[in-house]
Point group: C2
Chain length 217, copies 2
DNA sequence: AAAGAATGCGACTGATTATTCGCGTTTGTC
DNA sequence: GACAAACGCGAATAATCAGTCGCATTCTTT
């Protein structure tokens, strides 16, 4: 009852320690991994504080030494998940300077596949993240990563056609990101066949949209 | 404790009355409306059994006279929501036999706007439905409505070009539905500007995909 | 208008789960 | 090797809700 007032008056609890900073400690990652694994293996409702703690080889109390509350765990999990997108995209983009139309198409396809994997491998994670999507802290994180992704795509497009207006590159990058995300989202809920079909057609659509702006052989 | 055993052994409770059938009674709809309104106004966690009951001007006990459990309420809510898609699409499609490219484009746009509204007006409902998406009863319902939607789109495309192969019409219809759904999903989470931008480009992309198959002036 | 049926009620139960806190255990320091 | 500080523990607490059930009220029927 001591804290109940605090909670009700929205005085968010601070992390018990100063955990987020001292990444040195692997414990934080162990906790996040535990939450992730549980979600993957046993679904949305699996990551209770107790289950997470046990899976991480800790007690509940110890978990609360690194996170102020459960939502903070999920928030960090979301953060980690989101960060893998620009990571994966950046990796692929660095490798490739597409020149002709065919290579461009192949690269687009690879990008789709790479980013799709992030979704597919974490299918059960999505609803969990959804559940905290109301959290005000998540939006700016999401936005920051998205901006990064758009910038990566835009840079890539300008690499293909350096004469491309920056503004247009960004717009196309945005569409590429959003449509990509969107299709993966839907794809995740369907069977593999539907997913492939859509991915294929979406690729075609995307190329049709972009082609007029690029000078490809 | 009497029922707890039942619950654990997964013997699902039957509706107390035979409510679903006798739609005559407006009470069922009142309950669904209450759940919907609460979700709209106060978010995902708002529709508790108590809150729903009170909002519907009933007591908890009475609610359980019409629904076997909470999930059944949400399931019906999802059902109602899903049914509005083919409804809206059918309404618009009946009115329009597009002939030339411009009219076709305008109609596509209207379809996008109409269906988008279903999402935008029920933005907070989505996570709630997500939460029960594991429910085995939801998938067949979803599939049935989706098939209806695809059929509507396909019929429309064949109306524009009667020579269009049925198989292709269906595929395009599927893409139209999925991509549409997908973009709305993502659009829902963004500001209006981003949404409009995407909607615009998606329309362009969609037309690029479809045009080769249609004979438009 | 009275008996009985149907409907409605809502305090209560039972279950789950996030969060706490006082006490043990380890670890680093002199 | 003794002391304290940090770390870890997990039974106990408290909050939240779904779902129940016996009593109260309204409606139906004769």
């Amino acid at each position: 009852m001591k804290r109940s007032l605090d909670r009700k008056t929205k005085i968010a609890l601070e992390p018990r320690k100063q955990p987020r900073q001292q990444r040195s400690s692997k414990v934080v990652d162990r906790i996040l991994d535990a939450a992730l694994t549980l979600t993957r293996e046993q679904g949305t409702k699996a990551p209770t504080t107790l289950a997470i703690a046990q899976r991480a080889g800790l007690s509940v109390g110890s978990v609360y030494q690194y996170f102020p509350n459960k939502e903070a765990i999920l928030l960090d999990l979301a953060r980690r998940w989101l960060s893998s997108f620009p990571e994966v995209i950046a990796k692929r983009i660095k490798v490739t300077p597409p020149t002709d139309r065919d290579e461009f198409r192949r690269e687009v396809r690879k990008l789709f596949i790479d980013t799709s994997r992030i979704y597919l491998d974490n299918a059960t994670l999505m609803p969990v993240i959804e559940a905290i999507s109301g959290n005000a802290d998540l939006r700016p994180i999401q936005d920051a990563y998205d901006e990064e992704i758009v910038a990566l795509y835009a840079a890539w497009l300008r690499h293909v056609n350096p004469a491309l207006e920056d503004k247009i590159a960004k717009r196309l990058g945005l569409v590429m990101m959003e449509v990509g995300h969107a299709c993966r989202l839907v794809g995740m809920k369907r069977d593999r066949r539907t997913y492939d079909l859509i991915e294929d057609d979406v690729e075609t659509m995307w190329l049709a949209l972009v082609s007029p702006y690029l000078k490809l052989d």
